[in-house]
Amino acid sequence: MKPSPLCAMVALCTTVFTSCDRLQERMEITETREVSEFARSPAVDIPSSTRFYDDTPAQPAAGQPPSLRGLLVWEVPQGWTELPEDASSSMRMIDIRFGPNNEGECYVSLMPGSAGGLNANVNRWRSQMGLPPLDEAGIAALPKKPFFNRDATYIEMDGDFSGFGATDAKKDYRMLGLIHSADEATIFVKLTGPRTVVEENTPQFEAFCQSISPNSAFLNQQ
């Protein structure tokens, strides 16, 4: 039952005339109801964080685009462990560790467009390994490997690795990489680790790269 607008008007008029300080206004509660026997049992002493759904700090906002991981299918080689998807480093679509102490790292990332071009990317990686940049001819001469049904540029570099944000370079590292650069998107597969560990895992790297392909099931269901 709705209160009549007339009552509301009367109430309005009385409040206007009677109360100057609104915080002083008092009113007795007149309405009660019985709670149904089917109602949920009372939730007592629930902390604010639960009441306001704040228990998951990094809760992804609704409407965020679905993860790009779904776009691909791949096989993780024997002895490699894949890390669960981590929202905080969403740049890495697939993130894998390997080696005796998981010191080897391999990840796949995808950038829209040409991502600055092949040259810039190769030389960025070279600088991470402490190597001088290559000129265009040098980059064009890099070997190619089949990947994603296309040719991709293959890079193999030894040096001291200082990754993104690292202060101390790690000695005697090897980096393997595949860059498939197309107009629409650029896909990177990058593997780094101590040289000996990487040498052991090179066949796995090859197999892993070959296993990556578009996920037709995902494309269909969308």
């Binding site: 994603f148 049904n149 197309a182 629409e184 392909s213 578009p214 037709s216 494309l219 269909n220 969308q222």
Partner: protein, 672 residues
């Protein structure tokens, strides 16, 4: 639209030229009436309903080109120079060197069986040449023109990139060029799939494929080897590494004919009556290579029958026989399911094109009405009037037939969409005008029938390309109830019609005053006023009862009588305006000119609640979003505003004249 995106993602990677086609038929074979009629009649399940293939062809062409036919000339119009057949290198002409015109189905057949030629036809409507320039292509110079597939193709990558970018923007923020590019990209990809429709048999794996699955040999027939391909794709390595996969994927999408799941070509009625969804060539291929389900023998038989149509080419007789055989099979299978019985009726209605003809017959009728004014009392005038009667009666008959046939096809009452309200209101206005003429015999009714009937038919025909989707749509769940759809909806629309007629009468009144053909309180003016008054009464009755019935429907179907929904409010405004007019008139506040002024306002309200409320973007009834409706509504309001200003001037002048004469207006009006 989400469906498109991922398929686009794959398509952007994979666009490969299929192998050369050795089976190109001549265009004449594809225009052979026997062939066209056979294909046009194939029942298809699309957007939840069984319809003839001609319907799909027509609306696809309408979406790409905003027309329902296509001339094979360099500008796509009748006056262009005939195109050259890329295979024979001869000009495409009929007898006498005239260019060739294709209907929707003929165009679809050309697209399927003559992709080489189809790519050279001006097909893609571009309303904004700046969009073409943005793609890095050379525009034709004109702002609006049609472009061929081959002209767009060099910019394919750019087109896809830009579409991906603009799609992310909110619709409101897109510029006209950006909207154009998105639309062009969607149309282009759709057409690419249509061109590749028979690739699944023409060239499913490319010209010289490596690594074909065990036991598969060229030429490939998927009806035989589909499972082998499916195994190769789903087991083992990534499919993209298979050298033939890109051809294969493209062929599968082509066989589906659309990236939208609701619009894939479904022409294989399943035997199992419990399966509601039909199969199609693309859906069978797609579900198999996704590893969802093995193809059933029945599905493979259908696929083989469909392949046979293509394999019968280029021999004309074999092709006709194969197509007819396939049509019969589909018809028999559909009939066994108790489906598709009204496909023939729909095809004949599509071809009869009632509303198009009605429009022209109304126009001819109007000409005769105008002729009858020259000398109303002479023999010439009487003959003109008689002829006008004849034409308007046939036009109204055509419009009503069209509306009734639509009801028969859909097995439901006449109005379920905005488009159908235009048809219904047009037919009703014409009928109301004719009835009024039959009663009064003063020529006014004929004029109303001609203007309102012709105008609404014109509007309906203009409205179709703006939506470019099948106008016979399925209903939302809550609306599926024949009782209310056949009482409330027609009633409220008849109410619109009656009020529009009243407004039209008042427009005629003012226009005649403007030309000095009428004076206040003359016999003719009084007659016009009485007629307008009558239509307001009729309109009030229908709108009031119709509106309340709508409330009752709502109350009995979902539990609320009145929700202040915009469409409801629109109807209420019409009722209130009618009531205002009646009470103001009874109270003597408005007389002749005042009544007509109010009628103009009534007309504006009807237009607002007919077309405007859908644009407010809120409420249950917002079903017809069409770009650029507001300017048209403003144009109408503006024209009425001008007449209204003239009316107010007249009313002031009349009042001054009256006060000079000092005579009190006779009471005859108040009792009229």
């Amino acid at each position: 639209m989400k469906t498109f995106r991922w398929i686009f993602a794959l398509l952007t990677f994979a666009s490969v030229a299929p192998a050369e086609d050795a089976r190109l038929p001549s265009l004449d074979l594809l225009r052979d009436p026997e062939v066209v009629d056979t294909f046009a009649a194939i029942p298809v399940q699309e957007i939840g309903r069984i319809k003839p293939l001609e319907n799909i062809a027509n609306y696809r062409l309408l979406r790409l080109r905003a027309r329902r036919s296509l001339w094979l000339t360099d500008n796509g119009e009748m006056d262009g120079a005939p195109l050259t057949d890329p295979t024979t290198q001869e000009g495409i002409t009929k007898e006498g060197g005239k260019p060739v015109k294709l209907s929707g189905t003929e165009w679809l057949l050309m697209t399927w069986f003559r992709p080489d030629l189809s790519k050279t036809v001006p097909l893609f409507k571009v309303d904004n040449s700046a969009a073409i320039e943005e793609l890095g292509l050379e525009s034709h110079g004109k702002k609006r023109d049609q472009y061929t597939f081959n002209e767009i193709e060099p910019a394919r990558t750019t087109l896809m990139e830009k579409m991906a970018e603009y799609r992310e923007m909110p619709a409101k923020e897109r510029s006209p060029e950006q909207r154009m590019i998105v639309q062009l990209a969607v149309n282009y990809l759709d057409y690419e799939m249509m061109l590749a429709h028979f690739d699944f048999i023409r060239s499913p794996v490319g010209e010289d494929p490596q690594d074909l699955p065990e036991g598969v040999t060229q030429p490939v027939r998927l009806s035989k080897d589909l499972t082998k391909f499916a195994t190769a794709i789903t087991s083992g390595g990534p499919p993209m590494s298979l050298p033939w996969f890109r051809y294969f994927g493209q062929a599968v999408f082509g066989a589906m004919m659309s990236g939208n799941a609701e619009q894939q070509l479904r022409i294989f009625p399943p035997t199992d009556p419990n399966t509601e969804i039909w199969d199609g060539p693309g859906t069978v291929l797609f579900q198999t290579i996704r590893g969802e389900s093995e193809p059933t023998p029945e599905q493979l038989e259908w696929l083989a029958a469909y392949e046979d149509i293509y394999l019968a080419l280029p021999d004309a007789d074999q092709f006709k026989a194969a197509a007819k055989g396939f049509l019969e099979e589909v018809q028999t299978a559909a009939a066994a399911r108790d489906e598709g019985s009204r496909v023939g009726l729909e095809l004949s209605a599509l071809r009869a094109d009632y509303f198009f003809w009605a429009q022209w017959v109304f126009l001819v009728g109007f000409v005769f009405v105008a002729l009858s004014w020259v000398s109303p009392t002479s023999i010439f005038g009487k003959v003109s009037k008689g002829t006008a009667w004849l034409f308007l009666l046939s036009a109204t008959g055509l419009a009503i037939t069209g509306v009734i046939i639509r009801c028969l096809i859909m097995q439901r009452p006449p109005i379920t969409t905005l488009y159908e309200t235009i048809l219904f209101i047009g037919a009703s206005c014409a009928l109301l005008g004719l009835i009024a003429e039959w009663i009064t015999k003063r020529g006014l009714g004929l004029l109303i029938a001609a203007i309102a009937g012709g105008g609404c038919m014109f509007l309906a025909i203009q409205f179709e390309p703006s939506e470019a989707a099948d106008t016979m749509q399925l209903l939302q769940a809550v609306l599926i109830t024949n009782f209310w759809l056949s009482t409330h909806v027609p009633m409220i629309n008849l109410g619109y019609a009656a009020c529009m007629v009243a407004a039209l009468i008042s427009m005629i009144y003012f226009v005649r005053r403007l030309f000095g053909a009428l004076t206040t309180n003359s016999d003719e003016a009084r007659f016009i006023t009485r007629a307008a008054y009558g239509f307001i009464g009729f309109g009030l009755f229908l709108s009031l009862v119709g509106t309340v019935l709508g409330g009752i429907w709502a109350n009995y179907s979902w539990g609320r009588f009145w929700g202040w929904d915009p469409k409801e409010n629109g109807a209420l405004m019409i009722v209130l305006m009618c009531l205002v007019i009646l009470h103001a008139r009874l109270g003597g506040y408005i007389r002749e000119v005042g009544l007509h002024c109010c009628n103009l306002v009534l007309g504006c309200i009807v237009i607002f609640s007919w077309f405007g409320v859908n644009q407010l973007g809120v409420g249950l009834h917002a079903y017809g979003f069409t770009d650029g409706t507001w300017p048209k509504i403003y144009a109408y309001w503006g024209s009425q505003g001008a007449l209204l200003a003239y009316g107010i001037y007249l009313s002031i002048r009349d009042r001054q004249a009256r006060s000079k004469k000092g005579s009190v207006d006779s009471g005859s009006e108040a009792t009229a």
